[in-house]
Structures are given as C-alpha cells and as structure tokens.
C-alpha cells in the first residue's frame, strides 16, 4: 500500500514537470494559428494532437532559427574540441609533474571558477569589442574553452593514474607529449566525456554572452534567435515551439547518450 502511494505521488510530480514540455511538443506539431485554441476549456486535446503536421519543422529549416541552430552546433562542437585539448593538457601539467609554484597555479584555476562568468561578461564584452571580436565565431567560442571546472575535474582523475605506468612509458622512449597522448588520455575516457559534456552544456545553454557578442544574422545562436522571435508582434508560435523542441532535443540526446558520465561528473563536482 505504501509502495503504491509513493508511486502515485512520484507519478503526479513527474507529470507536473513534464506537462509544459509535452504542451510544447504537441503545439510544435500543430499550425501556429491553433496554439491557443485548446486552452479554454482545458481537455486532453490540449496535450495530444491526433493529426500532427510537420510543417513547423519544415519551415524551421529556412528560418532564422534553423540557421541559428546550426551556428549553435558549430560553436558548441568547436568549444568541446578546443576546450578538451586545452583543459586536458593543463590538467596533465598539474597532475603529472612536481614543481615549485604548482599549488599557486592550481589556485589560479580554482579562483577562475569562483568568479561567475556571466557576472564578468559585460567587462569582457567591452574588451572583445576593442579587439574586433564582436560578431565572429572566435568571439563566441573563446570564453568557453578555458574552463576551470573542467581542468579541476580532469586533474582529480589524472591524479589516480599510477606513476609506474608513466615510468614504464618513459623507459620505452615516450616523450612527455607521448605520455600524455598514449597513457593519460586513453585511460581517462570517462573523465574526458564528463568534462566534454560540461564544456558542451556551458556553450549550448549560454545566453548572456551570445547576446552581447554575436547578434548579426550570420552569427546569432539558437536561444538568442528564439527569444528575438518571441518578442515580435505577429509571432508564429508553431515555429517558436518547433525551435524550442529542436534546441532541447539536441542536448537531451547528448546527455542521454552519455548519461552514465553525466551523473558521474555531476556527483563528483558536488562531493569532492
């Protein structure tokens, strides 16, 4: 009996959280003119569409949001590749060597993620304006690649790699880059995926920075484009909802694909 009531309670909570998303998906499969047609009174048809149409998704393809979504994918992918290279190499420098000032450098890394990025976005954007990086992909990608949290996460993992392996590699004639490339990286797949997810989500969810630095038609990112559309007078909500679904499904697929690592990286940032 207790089990059943817990299950029912969980179900009610789960559905409450799910309803807004379900409503968005349903309306993305309906012409925009019908968005508000099923709300008064509310019925099961509010959340289910029996004759779904994909016209909203089709018109998404050649709308501003389609282009912006491609930009988001491009910027996030570049961030993950460059960011992983830079952060993993830094974590290796902090984990594999003993030298004077190591603690200090590690302190710099920790300090850099204590200052929240969104708060310094405005001073940074005035710097980027002086450097002519407004409305460039470089300007959008750069702030995402040096991620103190990702360095921290990778360093923790790298510290667990036994020194004997490194010595053996060195005896076999590997240079330090070889040790990094052929010993550390292959052994650290879970941590690399966790850090990669962190870099990806930072960039995919960003709003303040792309709003400050990249708003022309060629460089605008998905969330900014979507919120621009929402502000207009004659908004096609079918299109807005289709865009919202696409911008949600892409990270969802990535998170779901790496679910194990996502939870791992989440819990290790919280507990260590």
């Amino acid at each position: 009996m207790k089990r059943v009531s817990l299950s029912v309670l969980g179900g009610v909570v789960g559905l409450l959280f799910f309803l807004p998303l379900l409503w968005v998906v349903t309306n993305s499969l309906r012409p925009g003119s019908e968005t508000f047609a099923n709300l008064s009174p509310l019925s099961w048809q509010t959340f289910v569409e029996l004759r779904p149409t994909v016209t909203n998704y089709a018109s998404l393809l050649d709308s501003a949001i389609g282009r912006a979504t491609l930009n988001s994918i491009l910027v996030s992918a570049a961030t993950v590749v460059l960011g992983l290279a830079i952060c993993a190499s830094a974590a290796f420098g902090l984990a594999a060597f003993e030298f004077r000032g190591r603690g200090l450098l590690f302190g710099v890394v920790v300090l850099s993620f204590l200052v929240p990025f969104d708060a310094i976005a405005i001073p940074l954007s005035t710097m980027f304006r002086d450097w002519h990086l407004t409305n460039t992909f470089a300007g959008l990608v750069l702030p995402g690649i040096g991620n103190g949290m990702a360095i921290f996460l990778l360093r923790q993992f790298f510290l667990g790699i036994p020194a004997e392996l490194v010595e053996a590699g060195r005896l076999d004639g590997l240079g330090w880059f070889g040790v990094f490339r052929w010993i550390y990286l292959p052994l650290s797949k879970p941590a690399l995926i966790g850090a990669g997810l962190m870099l990806f989500l930072f960039q995919w969810q960003a709003y303040v920075w792309p709003l400050l630095i990249g708003t022309d038609a060629k460089h605008i990112l998905g969330p900014v484009a979507l919120s621009n559309l929402q502000g207009q007078n004659f908004t096609d909500y079918g299109l807005v909802f289709a865009g919202a679904v696409v911008l949600t499904v892409i990270p969802l697929v990535v998170i779901a694909g790496f679910q194990r690592y996502f939870v791992q990286s989440v819990s290790s940032t919280g507990l260590k």
């Binding site: 959280f17 508000f36 008064s40 830094a90 420098g93 594999a96 710099v108 040096g146 949600t248 919280g270």
Partner: protein, 286 residues
C-alpha cells in the same frame, strides 16, 4: 631536474593559463579599475572619478530597488529550491513502481537552455496561456502573473524551479545513494518512522552535497538574467529588476558603462560574500 619538470609542466599549462587569465581574471580586474573612472565630455576621454560611480549608484533609486528585489528573491528562491530538491531526492530514492521514469521526467527540463525555457513560459503565462487554462479547469479565477507587481517574482520562481530543481536533485540523489545500507536498516530496526528516518538519518548524512547545492544554487540564482530579459524587462515597476538585468540595462540601455562596471564589482562581491558566509555557516555546524 625539478626546474626542468616545471618548464615542461608550464608548456602543457600555458594555453589554459592564458585563457583563464585573459578571459576570466583580466575582465574581473578591469571591471574594478574601470569602476573608478568616468567619461568626461569636457576633457574628452576618461578621467579618474574615485568612488564617484559607487556613490552615484548608492544614491540611485532604481539601483536600491534592484538590490532589495534581488535580496527578497534570494531569500525566497533558494530555500524553496533546496527543500523541494531534497524532498524529491528522498521520494525518488524510495523503492516504488515507475520511480525511475518519474525521476527522468523531473530531470528533463535540464536539457532546455534557460532562454528557451523563458520563451516557453512566456507563452504559458500569457493571459490566454496554459497557466490560466489550468486555473480555469480547477475553477479558479484567471491571474495576471507577469504583469502583477506581487505575482511577478513568484511566477519567475516557479519557472526557475522547473528548470533547476531536477538538476540539484541529482546531487542529492547521488548523496543519498552513498548512505550505507546498514545505516538505513539499523534505523528501520530501531523502529524509526519515515519522517524520523528522513530528518535524523538521511539529512545529516547528505550534509555535504546539501551544502554544495545551497552554495551553487545561490550563486546561480544571483545571476538570473534570461527570464527577466525575455519575460519582464524588470517590470512591472521594477518589481522583477534583478541585479544582473540592472547591470545589463545600465550598460546598454542607459549606456553608462563605468557605473555598470561598479555594479558588476558589487554583484561579484555580493556573490563571493554570500558564498563565503554560507561556507562558514555550514562549517560551523560540524
């Protein structure tokens, strides 16, 4: 040998250190420096202003209201989100049919970028939107939500909790799952009821993840921007004008970049002070 090691390590560290210095630390310092200057029309270019920008801010009515709104928001949103995440984490770690599926449904909104969530909720909160549709079905009168001075903050809190609670719950679920099975069983054998087990057994044992969630959640809520910019523009009458949005509108709508930098400094200082305070408070517990 050690010196050589240091040089090699530095080579591996250099790209990241340059990025962190240029993209995180220099802008923070530049905000502090710029906040002491002002643009002079008479002499052209910037002149040293001392604490002028800060005194301007402190005597500014809109800024003072914004600080008040932000503090009220902070005091409301963080306890609500932490308590709800904890209760949901306890609920979803019980053995019950479908628990995994229900938990997934709560986590789903994590994937939605905050700006996209704000757009979605702007449609939900419309006078003819989903929220009023639900109220009508329950036989309740329609509400103004975002256009009412008293309902705007609660409306934002609901939307932010929809985004955030599932995420914070993940940390607490991980913490609860680390509690050894023997401890739970011992409590059961002692005849502790469910409420007693939650308060006396689970709660003290997840204090560390709970502390992390409280601090990280507070920081992220101090920086709320997208929902304000997309849904309310700080209104009505400044009742949702959170600091982060006030900084933005001061820098770009009002165009006073130096005063805005002073406000950035105050915002970062406030963030660090609250984080330090919470850490001290939680450490004092031990």
């Amino acid at each position: 040998m050690r010196q050589r090691q240091g040089l090699i390590a530095l080579a591996f560290l250099a790209p990241a250190l340059v990025c962190l210095a240029v993209l995180r630390i220099v802008p923070a310092i530049s905000a502090v420096v710029e906040s002491f200057y002002t643009e002079s029309l008479l002499r052209g270019g910037r002149v040293f202003a001392g604490l002028g920008n800060y005194t301007d801010l402190l005597s500014n009515k809109d800024f003072r209201q914004s600080v008040g709104v932000t503090l009220l928001f902070t005091v409301l949103v963080n306890p609500i989100q932490v308590v709800v995440s904890f209760l949901l984490a306890v609920l979803f770690t019980q053995r019950a049919a479908g628990a995994r599926l229900w938990r997934t449904l709560v986590i789903l909104p994590i994937a939605t970028p905050p700006a996209v969530s704000a757009v979605i909720w702007s449609v939900i909160y419309r006078p003819d939107g989903l929220a009023n549709g639900v109220l009508e079905r329950l036989g309740l009168p329609a509400q103004p939500f975002l256009t009412s001075p008293s309902q705007v903050l609660p409306s934002l809190i609901v939307l932010l909790s929809w985004i955030g609670v599932g995420y914070w719950m993940l940390f607490l679920i991980a913490g609860i799952q680390e509690i050894p099975a023997e401890v739970r069983e011992a409590a059961l054998l002692d005849g502790a009821g469910p409420w007693r087990r939650m308060v006396s057994v689970v709660l003290p044992l997840v204090r560390r993840p709970l502390a992390f969630v409280l601090v990280a959640d507070t920081v992220s809520n101090l920086l709320v921007f997208a929902p304000v910019q997309i849904l309310t523009k700080g209104g009505p009458n400044g009742n949702s004008n959170l600091l982060m949005y006030d900084v933005y509108s001061r820098a770009y709508a009002i165009g006073d970049i130096h005063v805005a930098q002073a406000e950035v400094v105050i915002l970062v200082a406030l963030t660090l002070a609250i984080v330090a305070g919470q850490f001290r408070l939680l450490r004092g517990d031990q």
